[in-house]
């Protein structure tokens, strides 16, 4: 099934799994005078799921928000080093942040559907990006909802408020909202932490199916979840001055079964604080 819509230039989409989609090189991130991330270097492969794990406050969300420049919204934030999307430095002043975020979408910890109908929630992005025809919008909404494994559950309530459906459905609606603008990367910050186990499994299945077409980065506190869904995993920790560093980064199977670093091992076996 071809699930993509209006792909303007199919050849422009990297298809090989080995391509580096996102790259961070020696990144330092500061909130005012507080250093939150220190010397982070990692390559995120395309069309796969990368999990970021680590103790609370080590800077996982900050690292995630580095890739779509959501950190820019915080007053006093400063980024050093280089971050690239498909080889283009995204902290270059010539970069259009809105265009970047269109290609690097984000799903948040707490489902945050807009206070409008299910349909309008999904159609919102495409509308803002210039699609006006009703038919085209309907097509996009249906495909996105199907793609987010939500269509069958909400096809009869498209005009109901997005806030009236269940929490798990709301989160999938938020994923559909991101899919509707056809991103290449989807960032997910603890997308299941507000959901029950059944809803969580649904989202995990959804992520696996999306991984064929999208590059996904997920922050999670749940070791099992990271082990279940991700192809690659990154383990972060805080240094004594509370700056977050990348301790270990590699294929998930290896990181969980045969960690190279003692600290990783301690953390995943639960011997950590």
């Amino acid at each position: 099934m071809n699930i993509k819509l209006n792909v303007p230039d199919i050849s422009a989409r990297p298809t090989d799994k080995c391509v580096t989609k996102l790259k961070a090189e020696r990144v330092n991130l500061y909130y005012g005078s507080f250093q939150c991330l220190r010397n982070i270097t990692l390559d995120i492969p395309s069309c796969s799921i990368t999990a970021i794990i680590g103790p609370s406050g080590c800077g996982k969300s900050s690292l995630l928000r580095l890739f779509n420049r959501m950190n820019d919204l915080i007053h006093g934030v400063r980024v050093e080093g280089n971050v690239e999307l498909d080889g283009t430095p995204i902290y270059d002043p010539k970069i259009d942040v809105a265009e970047l975020r269109k290609r690097v979408g984000m799903v948040f910890q707490k489902p945050n559907p807009f206070p409008m109908s299910v349909f309008e929630n999904v159609a919102y992005g495409p509308k803002r990006h210039g699609i006006k025809s009703r038919g085209e919008l309907e097509e996009i909404v249906e495909k996105s909802l199907r793609h987010a494994a939500l269509w069958d559950e909400v096809k009869d309530k498209l005009s109901q408020s997005g806030l009236s459906i269940s929490g798990g459905q709301q989160q999938r609606l938020c994923i559909a909202r991101v899919l509707a603008v056809e991103p290449e990367v989807i960032l997910m910050d603890e997308p299941c932490s507000a959901l029950d186990p059944v809803a969580t499994l649904k989202i995990e299945d959804l992520m696996r199916s999306l991984a064929e077409d999208y590059t996904i980065i997920i922050v999670t506190h749940n070791m099992q979840q990271a082990a279940r869904v991700s192809d690659t995993a990154a383990f972060m920790m805080m240094e004594p001055d509370r700056a977050g560093v990348l301790v270990e980064y590699g294929p998930t199977a290896q990181l969980f079964t045969n960690p190279k670093d003692k600290r990783t091992e301690d953390y995943i076996t639960g011997r950590f604080g």
Binding site: D9, S11, A12, R13, P14, T15, D16, C18, V19, L85, D86, G87, T88, I90, P93, K94, I95, D96, A98, E99, L100, R103
Partner: protein, 312 residues
């Protein structure tokens, strides 16, 4: 390998799309937003500038000393005399009396609403007090004129009920809503733990209000008083209609009088632009502006302090 090269090259092509867009429409709107944001400053500075420009020249004719302390206001005699002592004293009388009436009433009412009354009662009473804030000042002036002044006249055996006292009573009603609402907010902001600690020591409800709530809310109440004072100083129509309009320095609150605001309101219609009376009235406006500004800044400072006190 080759496939990867192709993919990388293709990615470079799409990345042209990351280049910054002009989005001219949005830039223009954001420009307007910025200008609108600045407008409050522009208007305030504009007011200061106008008052200085139109008002200061009077001091070339009347030295400041004579202007402030002169007791005669004869704008049309030859040569004209501009002394605003009578206006100033009138404003002082009216403000003092209205504050003296409104503050105890307002604070007591606030204490009743926030600490004593059952919530049903206070939820009914608060909107009624809000209505009072919405009654136009010209309406209050008319009420004072038609209903209160005959009463004051017969009570004090005066020649006329149109006097400073009548105006002050009407003004106290008009500053009550703000005094009540700000004091009530202040008392609400007193942390529950303070009150509970007082009850735990065996204090009665009243003792808690008197020894804990009111002292803790004191800065908020001070701010409420200042805002009430500001309101009384600046109020025009009520005073114009019921204070009597006499130009002499009032010896007692039961004398007819003209405050600074009513002097401007009653004189500006006859003033020629740039003429001496015009300048003198703008100078009165300048003094009014400075007075209310000072009162406001004090209120703002005190409120800030109150907020910080209980901020956690």
């Amino acid at each position: 390998m080759l496939q990867q090269d192709i993919a990388q090259a293709a990615a470079k092509v799409t990345n042209k799309g990351l280049r910054r867009r002009l989005r001219l429409g949005e830039r223009v709107i954001e420009g307007w937003i910025f200008l609108a944001g600045m407008l409050a400053i522009v208007v305030l500075l504009g007011i200061i500038f106008i008052l200085l420009k139109e008002g200061l020249p009077i001091f070339a004719n009347t030295p400041p000393w004579e202007f402030f302390f002169g007791t005669h206001w004869y704008p049309v005699s030859d040569p004209p005399t501009f002394g605003i002592a009578a206006f100033f004293v009138s404003t002082l009388w009216v403000t003092l009396i209205s504050t003296a009436v409104a503050v105890p009433l307002g604070v007591a009412c606030a204490a009743y609403l926030s600490e004593v009354a059952p919530s049903k009662v206070s939820e009914t009473i608060k909107p009624i007090i809000e209505i009072l804030a919405g009654i136009p000042s010209v309406m209050m002036g008319f009420i004072g004129l038609a209903l209160l002044s005959p009463f004051v006249q017969s009570l004090f055996h005066l020649n006329t009920g149109l006097c400073g006292l009548t105006a002050a009573i009407m003004l106290s009603m008009m500053s009550l809503p703000i005094i009540v609402s700000v004091s009530e907010d202040a008392m609400h902001a007193v942390p529950k733990e303070f009150k509970e600690a007082s009850y735990a020591l065996g204090a009665t409800k009243w003792e808690t209000i008197w020894h804990v709530c009111i002292p803790s809310a004191l800065s908020g109440i001070t701010a409420a008083i200042m805002l009430g004072v500001g309101r009384a100083i600046g109020e025009t129509m009520t005073v114009l209609m019921v204070a009597g309009g006499a130009l002499a320095v009032p010896a007692s609150p039961t004398d007819p009088m003209t405050t600074m605001t009513s002097a401007i309101a009653s004189g500006i219609g006859n003033a020629v632009r740039g003429g001496l009376q015009y300048q003198a009235l703008f100078a009165v406006g300048l003094i009014l502006f400075i007075l209310t500004l000072a009162v406001n800044i004090i209120a703002e400072r005190v409120l800030e302090r109150q907020k910080r006190k209980f901020a956690r």
